[in-house]
């Protein structure tokens, strides 16, 4: 009886470990998808994706009509440093959705800057403007109006307790 219980427990534990392994792998996967073309320019160290572009990294998922991603070589690996998104830009980060006509993400400071008809949508509110600066590491959003004066600075709820 005890042996059966042990086997059952080990089986469950094994399933749990496998599930966590594959779940974490699936979530951690980064990719670029393009509907029309992708150009790898090794001389200028960039990738240009065209047509229904989807980009995912460990922080966010982005959609746009076009993407230009610059990369550098780091310890024999290549990593994206700057990602530019053009036209119909939608970026999903946790519970928020950023929209705009153009976006630029810099890996060094983890900041996304959107311009054009910008909006930021969360479960509780929707804000619009002409420029949005999303500081992911510091959980800070700055939304500017068309006359470039600061309009709204939103501190998200999950950080409000700190």
């Amino acid at each position: 009886m005890k042996e059966t219980w042990n086997l059952s427990f080990i089986n469950k534990l094994l399933y749990l470990v496998l599930y966590l392994f594959f779940f974490s792998k699936a979530n951690a996967e980064s990719y670029v998808k393009a509907g029309e073309s992708l150009i790898w320019d090794s001389e200028n160290k960039s990738y240009t994706a065209n047509g229904s572009v989807e980009f995912k990294n460990d922080r966010f998922v982005a959609y746009a009509d076009k993407m230009i991603a610059n990369y550098i070589e780091e310890k024999n690996d290549e990593v994206f440093t700057i990602i530019e998104l053009f036209n119909n830009v939608v970026i999903k980060f946790e519970e928020e959705t950023f929209k705009g006509n153009y976006a630029i993400y810099t890996r060094d400071d983890n900041i996304i800057k959107l311009t054009g008809d910008v909006s930021i949508e969360s479960p509780s509110r929707l804000l619009t403007g002409s420029e949005l600066i999303a500081d992911i590491d510091n959980n800070k959003r700055i939304l500017n109006s068309s006359n470039n004066e600061p309009l709204v600075e939103v501190l998200l709820e999950n950080n409000a307790d700190n």
Partner: protein
């Protein structure tokens, strides 16, 4: 009178005949500008190396057809490998003088960043660019 006429006709015929001979001689002197010899060379389970701007590239295929002096066709499963990438595809045409390789068949590419799958490719080696067309999926390594 009849004898005179016959002599005249023979003379005229001789002149015409000689003129044709001279014409044929000069026409035949023209150098041949086109090379009509075209040998088809086919090699099976082929692999070799090509030196281009991006360095040494190893190429291989199930079958290699030499199209002409500048073009080779890698028929069936084929690959191109160098320090920057490994391209695995089918039916790849390589222009050696222009340093261009291309295929309209699905292709998989492995490079330092990840694994890329596309419907076709055109590798402009002299320019350091590879253009992938159709639905492209590039899974990036962690």
């Amino acid at each position: 009178m009849s004898n005179y006429l016959t002599k005249r006709i023979i003379n005229i015929l001789l002149i015409i005949f000689l003129s044709i001979q001279v014409l044929i001689y000069f026409v035949n002197q023209k150098p041949l500008t086109k090379n009509f010899s075209q040998k088809t060379i086919t090699v099976e389970n082929f692999s070799s190396i090509v030196l281009s701007k991006s360095g040494i590239t190893k190429i291989g295929s199930e079958k290699l057809n030499k199209v002409d002096d500048n073009n080779i066709f890698l028929k069936g499963k084929s690959y191109l490998e160098n320090n920057d990438y490994k391209i695995y595809g089918k039916n790849i045409l390589i222009n050696l003088s222009k340093e261009i390789s291309e295929s309209n068949e699905p292709v998989e590419v492995i490079n330092k960043m990840g694994l890329l799958k596309a419907q076709s490719f055109k590798n402009l080696d002299y320019d350091g660019k590879i253009i992938f067309e159709g639905n492209v999926e590039f899974v990036i390594y962690k």
